[in-house]
């Protein structure tokens, strides 16, 4: 009896002895898990902070106020309204004249060229459009706000390190002095950057915008949705409701699961070999992009749609069959409407994936430099992620902020699509 009690105490003691160590291990393990999650959250926030801090300045653009004399000698005689004559005039010359008037001390030819370089080469088109809209301007004097060159813009936004020696800087000391003069005269202003939303791509950062890429993305996704949604839902309905359980169905299932994990770049090669080389469709058009992305998102949509069909209880089907509906009527009248929210959720997630996809589109030539905004699915165009890739490759500092701004817009689209999917699921989710 005594012996037994002693032994019992011994066991308890041993347990007690180890307890501190075990609890410590427990705490450490817990901290490790917490640390992993915090690390993940830190990565998310760091990514967003980098992108936003790099990109928010792109929504503003530096403008310079010029006093322009609409010289009839350089444009056309007063009273001229023929647009052909007006469009051919030398508007760049007007800007140069105005700059010369402002800085009469600049006489050296090379210096003059640097001076003119402060104004964007797109400014002359602005003035041309103004004159063509209102030919009465000819012969008058007026103040015009024109777009500044990207280096000027970067300086105003504080992205140029003035502590560097002059030779390492994009903005030289004489330019600094002129810009200082312009600022003294209140001729420099930052405004909302509308060009960014209304222009296509350009070699000049200050003239480039995302409209072309956004339209390209829209057309590509349209093709992708029109093809992938009906086909994906049809395939899911067949596999879930009609397919006999046999080898063939098994092969299809394994195939779909595997396709979901095939690297996206391989789909690009498929598009290149089949749609472009075999069917002879043109390169860089949203039609081909949409076809490739449709093949790529199909597995996602099929898998989500099958899950949605599975969640509809069998009693619904049995009831419909019981009152004499055909199997097809059961599906189309009862099962499909109930499964539709889940299918839509899957489709939206698939579309979000397609919107962010870049690699397969590089393969089918959607990396071309395209200035025009596409008007249909057969016009060459870029898409948002490819535009980001192209800008990220450009050396100009001004493209860094534009890349980040384009990323912000892409992420805004993606996040709102995902939120829509979540909302849809919350709103229509039914527990049976």
């Amino acid at each position: 009896m005594n012996n037994q009690q002693q032994q019992h105490q011994k066991t308890m003691d041993r347990v007690q002895q180890g307890l501190d160590r075990r609890y410590r291990q427990e705490r450490h393990f817990r901290w490790l898990g917490m640390g992993a999650i915090i690390l993940g959250l830190v990565f998310v926030s760091f990514l967003f902070i980098t992108i936003i801090s790099n990109g928010y300045t792109a929504f503003q653009q530096t403008y310079v106020k010029l006093d322009v004399f609409y010289d009839p000698e350089m444009i056309a005689p007063v009273g001229e309204t023929n647009p052909q004559v007006l469009s051919k005039a030398d508007y760049g010359g007007l800007i140069k004249a105005s700059m010369r008037d402002m800085f009469p001390e600049v006489t050296n030819r090379r210096e003059k060229k640097v001076l003119y370089g402060l104004i964007s080469s797109g400014a002359s088109y602005e003035i041309r459009d103004a004159v063509m809209n209102n030919p009465e301007l000819i012969g008058t004097k007026g103040e015009v706000w024109v777009v500044a060159d990207d280096d000027f813009d970067m300086l105003i936004k504080g992205h140029i390190d003035l502590r560097l020696p002059e030779s390492d800087r994009r903005i030289k000391d004489n330019q600094l002095a002129w810009i200082h003069d312009l600022q003294e005269q209140d001729r420099v202003e930052k405004r909302f950057n509308t060009t960014f939303f209304t222009a296509g791509d350009s070699r000049e950062p200050e003239l480039s915008g995302i409209k072309g890429a956004a339209y390209g993305s829209f057309f590509t996704l349209l093709i992708c949705l029109v093809l992938a949604f009906p086909i994906g839902v049809a395939a899911a309905v067949y596999l879930e409701e009609f397919a006999p359980k046999n080898r063939w169905t098994d092969i299809i299932e394994v195939n779909i699961n595997n396709l979901a994990a095939v690297p996206s770049i391989v789909f690009g090669l498929l598009g290149l070999a089949v749609f472009i080389n075999f069917f002879g469709l043109p390169r860089s058009v949203p039609l081909v992009g949409g076809l490739v992305l449709a093949l790529m998102t199909l597995p996602t949509i099929i898998i989500a749609s099958r899950a949605a069909l599975k969640s509809v209880p069998p009693s619904i089907r049995e009831a419909a069959l019981g009152v004499g509906a055909s199997p097809m009527q059961t599906i189309t009248h009862h099962v499909l409407p109930l499964a539709l929210p889940g299918m839509l959720t899957g489709t939206i997630i698939g579309m979000a994936q397609a919107l962010g996809e870049t690699a397969p589109l590089l393969m089918i030539g959607m990396v071309a430099f395209i200035v025009d905004v596409p008007g249909s699915v057969m016009d060459p165009s870029a898409v948002l992620p490819v535009q980001i890739y192209l800008w990220a490759d450009s050396p100009e500092r001004a493209f860094v902020e534009r890349t980040s701004a384009a990323i912000m817009i892409l992420l805004a689209f993606l996040i709102s699509m995902n939120l829509l999917a979540v909302w849809l699921r919350k709103k229509f989710e039914r527990r049976w």
Partner: protein, 460 residues
Amino acid sequence: MHTSTLIILLLGLMSLAYYFGRKRSLSLVGGKVRDLHSLPSYYGMQTAMWCGIPALILLALWLSFEESVVTGMVVESLPQEIQELPPERLDLVLNDVRNLSQGDIVSSTVDQTMQQAADHYTSLMGISHMALFVVALSVAILAGLWAQRTITREQRARNRVEKAINFFLLSSSTLAIFTTVGIVLSVLFESVRFFQQIPVTEFLFGLEWSPQTAIRPDQVGSSGVFGSVPLFAGTMLITLIAMIVAVPIGLMSAIYMAEYASKHFRTLAKPVLEVLAGIPTVVYGFFAALTVAPFFRDLGTDIGLTVSSESALAAGVVMGIMIIPFVSSLSDDVINAVPQAMRDGSYGLGATRSETIRNVIIPAALPGIVGGVLLAVSRAIGETMIVVMAAGLSANLTANPLEAVTTVTVQIVTLLVGDQEFDSAKTLAAFALALVLFVITLALNMIALHIVRKYREQYE
């Protein structure tokens, strides 16, 4: 625009056909639906299908053959000496003709014959479009009328419509097969052509990769060596770094979420982590090239190491961040699939939570976790944009993560983006690389899915 007008017209005709088909079926029985074999709407649908489907098939066939037929006719009309040009020169001429007829910029000078050919091309295209318009619309109208006329009371309209729908469903489900076959064939054909020029053994075991083939025989530095080992070594190195980052973080956060976190915390933190999964890879690539790579380079300089600005480390770490949510959601699934009874048994014996996790849950979930990690590896191998933007271009056989390496996907992109000729070993090499990539990822996926499925069955 032309084709879309036609399609809209056809859709309009189909809805008319539906209306008239339905009306006729009703008028046949004087409005008494029970005397019909099927519901009136099925007769309408049947008529609409007859009206639309033949015309749409015709449209598709016409559009796919129009270009080649018209081009053939234009070639016949060209002068003899142009017709006898080698095929690739002839293609150039034809391209110019097409551009000229669309008013685009032309590469060669425009002479009389070119202009004539372009005019001929334009007029033939115009005729073809007009003919398509007329033929498609008349086919639609005639077939629709015929279908409407032949409606009878006993006609099994519902069965026919359902049969057609069933056919559509079946063919949709086989599209996945066709996609796979298409991938295999398109990659295989070009690879076979590549291996006719470069022996398989050299491709698989060669230690040097420099795909610039010489245009002139005396050119320097254009060796055209296609040994893929450095590419696969680079891919493996970056994948390894990515896994070292992603597996511990992903697994630990999944464990914490599943076993420790309160419901409140879970609903807050989980969506935020899932944001990482939704970010496009091009964004990660930009992040890697702009922020992470310079950070590692500066850090290296501070502690006296030379870190390449395109180091494998930067690309690998960012890829790891990308894969964290993938690993964590797959592990979450398998951890949640472990039956509660096993946990309760362990707690009943006095084990702490972490002891239960380490000694019971993880061993039980291990096959699933391994499957998930394999899927993640296959994903990392196939990932393109991060490495294109942050990893190097030149093949470098090294195990040092601070140096620049290149990967299979980077080489595919660099070989195929830009101008390409379709018979050089350089372009074909991309397809051979893609073939190997496809086979590797396919094998990994097969194994992983098999493991995961087998494991699930164990507890069901």
